[in-house]
C-alpha cells in the first residue's frame, strides 16, 4: 500500500464556508498552526480555485494570488499548494504568478468528463517540475469507464495523480471502492479522493477510498468547506491510526488548529441542514449553497426546491448563474416539490 498523502484544503474549500472572505491574518494563523504537522500540502485559494473570484462564484476578500503569497511566508516545512479550475483561472494570470510565489503543488480541475481541457495547464506545471494533480469534479455524473479514460488522459499529460471529487456528497462507500479499484487497475499514478458530507458519508467514503487503494485524501480540518463541509481530517486520521494505517501526522496539532483558528472563522453551525441534505440528494454541487439560499430568499421560494430543480437541469460547478433562472421559474410557475404535490411533501 502506498503511503497516504493528506491534502488539507481548509483554506480552499473553507473559503466557500465564509463566502470567499478569508483574510491574510487567518491564512497566516492557520498556516502557522499546521506547518510541519505532517500534512502533504496545504491548499490555498478561492473555493473554486484561483481566478474564480467573481460575482458568479463570489468575490474573494483579497487578491487571489496574494492568498498564496501570504501562505507561503508561513509555511516553512509543509508544501504550499493551490487549485485552479480550467475556464476560470489561466496559466498566464494565475498558475505562473502562483508558481513565482513558491507554490509547489497544483491541483488543476475540470468537470469529470472534460479533462482534455486541462492538458496545457498540467503540462505547463509538470514541465516546471512542480507536483500537479488532475481533479475531476462532480464524479457522480459519469460512468466508471469514463473516469478511467479521464485518468489515463491526466497521466498522459504528466499528472502526478488524479483526485476524484464527490462535489455533491452523494456517494456511498461501495461506489467509491469500485471506482478507486478500477482506476488503480488502469493507471499507475496516485488516485485521490475529495469528499463532501451532505449525506454524512465523507469520512466513511474517504476511508473506503483508502482501503481500495487511494493514496491521496483531500479534506479539511473540522470539515470546513462548501455546503455540509468535507471529510473532517482529524476524524479520518484517528480512524486510520486506530486501524493500523500510519499517517505520520500530529493529530493534536490539527485538532488545535481547528479549535484555535478554524472555529473562530465559521459563520454558522456545522450541522447538516435540510438544504445541504437536499443538495446531496439532488446531486448538485455543494458550492451553490450560499447563493441558493440568498436567491431563494429574494424570490420567496424554498431553497430545497431550487436544489431539486438544479439537479433536474444537471447543473455543474461554475453554473451558479442558473440559480436565478431556476428561482425565477419556480416563483412564476409554482413549486414542483413540497407542499401536497411533491415527492417529499407526500409523506
Amino acid at each position: 500500500m502506498r503511503k497516504v498523502k493528506i491534502f488539507d484544503s481548509s483554506l480552499r474549500d473553507g473559503s466557500h464556508a465564509v463566502k470567499q472572505q478569508l483574510f491574510p491574518e487567518q491564512i497566516e494563523a492557520y498556516c502557522d498552526a499546521v506547518d510541519g504537522s505532517g500534512l502533504h500540502t496545504v491548499i490555498v485559494g478561492h473555493g473554486n480555485g484561483l481566478g474564480a473570484s467573481s460575482i458568479q462564484m463570489g468575490l474573494s476578500a483579497m487578491d487571489e494570488v496574494d492568498m498564496v503569497r501570504v501562505a507561503h511566508n508561513h509555511l516553512k516545512k509543509t508544501r504550499l499548494g493551490t487549485f485552479v479550475t480550467v475556464g476560470f483561472g489561466t496559466i498566464e494570470d494565475h498558475i505562473k504568478p502562483a508558481m513565482a510565489c513558491g507554490t509547489e503543488v497544483f491541483c488543476i480541475a475540470t468537470h469529470c468528463t472534460e479533462s482534455d481541457t486541462m492538458r496545457r495547464h498540467v503540462q505547463y506545471v509538470s514541465r516546471h517540475g512542480k507536483e500537479v494533480y488532475g481533479v475531476l469534479m462532480n464524479c457522480h455524473l459519469t460512468s466508471i469507464n469514463s473516469l478511467v479514460e479521464q485518468a489515463k488522459n491526466i497521466a498522459s499529460y504528466g499528472g502526478d495523480g488524479v483526485i476524484l471529487m464527490d462535489s455533491a456528497g452523494t456517494f456511498i462507500p461501495d461506489q467509491i471502492s469500485r471506482i478507486v479499484e478500477e482506476l488503480c487497475n488502469h493507471v499507475d499514478i496516485d488516485i485521490g479522493f475529495h469528499a463532501h458530507n451532505n449525506l454524512s458519508m465523507a469520512v466513511a467514503n474517504s476511508y473506503a477510498a483508502i482501503s481500495s487503494g487511494a493514496s491521496i485524501i483531500d479534506g479539511t480540518v473540522l470539515g470546513f468547506g462548501a455546503g455540509a463541509g468535507n471529510c473532517q481530517l482529524e476524524a479520518l486520521i484517528a480512524l486510520m491510526e486506530k486501524n493500523g494505517i500510519r499517517t505520520g501526522i500530529d493529530l493534536y496539532r490539527l485538532m488545535d488548529a481547528g479549535k484555535n483558528v478554524i472555529s473562530g472563522m465559521m459563520h454558522y453551525d456545522r450541522g447538516i441542514d435540510g438544504t445541504c441534505i437536499i443538495s446531496g440528494y439532488a446531486g448538485v454541487v455543494s458550492t451553490f449553497r450560499t447563493k441558493v439560499e440568498y436567491i431563494a430568499k429574494m424570490k420567496n421560494v424554498d431553497p430545497r426546491d431550487v436544489f431539486l430543480a438544479l439537479g433536474e437541469r444537471k447543473a455543474i460547478a461554475g453554473q451558479d448563474d442558473l440559480i436565478l433562472e431556476v428561482a425565477n421559474h419556480l416563483a412564476e410557475h409554482g413549486k414542483r416539490y413540497g407542499g401536497n404535490h411533491g415527492k417529499f411533501g407526500k409523506i
Partner: protein, 297 residues
C-alpha cells in the same frame, strides 16, 4: 451577380457550421474547405455536399493565390498566428474565428462598418459575440460601470479539439473585448463546459456593477440590442431579464439556440460566431469587392 470567393480553413465544428451558413449567402461562395486529413469524416461530408476540399492546410491558399478573396480561419489560436502573416502578405481579407486576436476585435453590430477597412478581423469568441453587445448596450445606458463579468456555458459536445485547447485564450480574448468595447477597465470572462445529456443550449450571463442602475431603462436598451443581434443570429434571446441581485449589481442571461445546421439546436455557440463571421465577411464584400456592381453609376 458574381459571388465573392471564400475558403474555410479548418474543418472542425466551427468550420463545418460556417459552411452551412455560407450556403445561404447571396454574396459569398465557399470554394474550398481546407483541413489536414483528406479522409476525415468532416471533409468527406463536405465533398458529399458538393464542395471542393483540400487537406493541405494553409498551403492550399499559398498554391492558389488568385482563388480566394476571403479566408475564414477556424483552426486554433496557435495555428492562426502562423496563418495571419502569410495571409496578410497575400492580401486576403481574413475573418479569424479563433481567439488569436491578431486582427481587430470585431462585433458586427458594434463595429462591423469600421472593420471593412481592416485586412484581418477577429471574431472574439462565441461568449464574446453573445455578451459584448449586451454589455455595451447596458453600460452605455447606465453611463458608467465599475466592473463587467460574463460567464458562458456551452454543451461539452459542441466544443471541438481547438476550443478545448484554447480555453485560456478564450478567457483572455473575451475579457479584452469586453474592456475594449465597453471602456470599463475591470472585466472578467469565464466558461463552463457541461456534458449533460440531452445537451444544454448555450447560455451566457452578464453581470454589471454600477451605481444608479435604472432597471426599466436598462431593460429597454437590452431588448433593443436583442433585436439588433437577432437580425443576424435568429436564435438569440434574453431568458433572464435584467435583474438587480444587489443594489449595484445587475444580472441578465441570454441564450443562443442554433439553427441545427452542423450540430443540433443546442450548439448556438457555433451559430453565434459563424453568423457573425458571415455577416462581417458580407459587409466587407459589399464594401470592397462588389461596390461596382452595387453602384454601377
Amino acid at each position: 451577380m458574381k459571388k465573392v470567393q471564400a475558403a474555410i480553413l479548418g474543418s472542425g465544428n466551427i468550420g463545418m457550421d460556417l459552411l452551412y451558413k455560407l450556403r445561404n449567402s447571396k454574396v459569398l461562395s465557399c470554394e474550398c474547405v481546407i483541413g489536414r486529413q483528406e479522409n476525415s469524416e468532416n471533409l468527406k461530408k463536405c465533398r458529399e455536399m458538393g464542395y471542393r476540399t483540400s487537406a493541405k492546410s494553409i498551403q492550399e491558399i499559398i498554391e492558389h493565390p488568385a482563388c480566394y478573396d476571403v479566408v475564414f480561419d477556424a483552426t486554433s489560436a496557435e495555428a492562426h498566428k502562423v496563418h495571419a502573416s502569410i495571409l496578410k502578405r497575400m492580401k486576403k481579407f481574413v475573418v479569424d474565428l479563433t481567439p488569436a486576436k491578431e486582427g481587430r476585435l470585431c462585433i458586427p453590430c458594434l463595429n462591423g462598418d469600421e472593420c471593412v477597412n481592416e485586412d484581418n478581423v477577429n471574431m472574439v469568441t462565441c461568449g464574446g459575440q453573445a455578451t459584448v453587445p449586451m454589455a455595451y448596450a447596458v453600460t452605455r445606458e447606465i453611463g458608467h460601470a465599475d466592473y463587467v463579468e460574463i460567464v458562458a456555458t456551452i454543451a461539452s459536445s459542441s466544443a471541438g479539439r481547438a476550443t478545448r485547447d484554447n480555453i485560456d485564450e478564450y478567457i483572455h480574448t473575451t475579457a479584452l473585448a469586453l474592456r475594449n468595447f465597453t471602456g470599463v477597465a475591470k472585466t472578467k470572462a469565464m466558461i463552463v463546459l457541461n456534458p449533460a445529456d440531452p445537451p444544454i443550449i448555450m447560455r451566457n450571463t452578464l453581470y454589471v456593477v454600477a451605481d444608479g442602475i435604472k432597471l426599466e431603462r436598462v431593460t429597454y436598451a437590452a431588448e433593443r440590442m436583442e433585436q439588433e443581434i437577432q437580425k443576424y443570429v435568429p436564435g438569440y434571446s434574453i431568458t433572464v431579464p435584467p435583474s438587480l441581485v444587489k443594489d449595484n449589481t445587475l444580472a441578465m442571461t441570454v441564450q443562443v439556440e442554433g439553427s441545427g445546421d452542423f450540430l443540433p439546436e443546442y450548439a448556438g455557440n457555433l451559430d453565434i460566431i459563424t453568423c457573425a463571421a458571415v455577416e462581417m465577411a458580407e459587409k466587407y464584400a459589399y464594401e470592397n469587392l462588389l461596390r461596382e456592381e452595387r453602384c454601377p453609376f
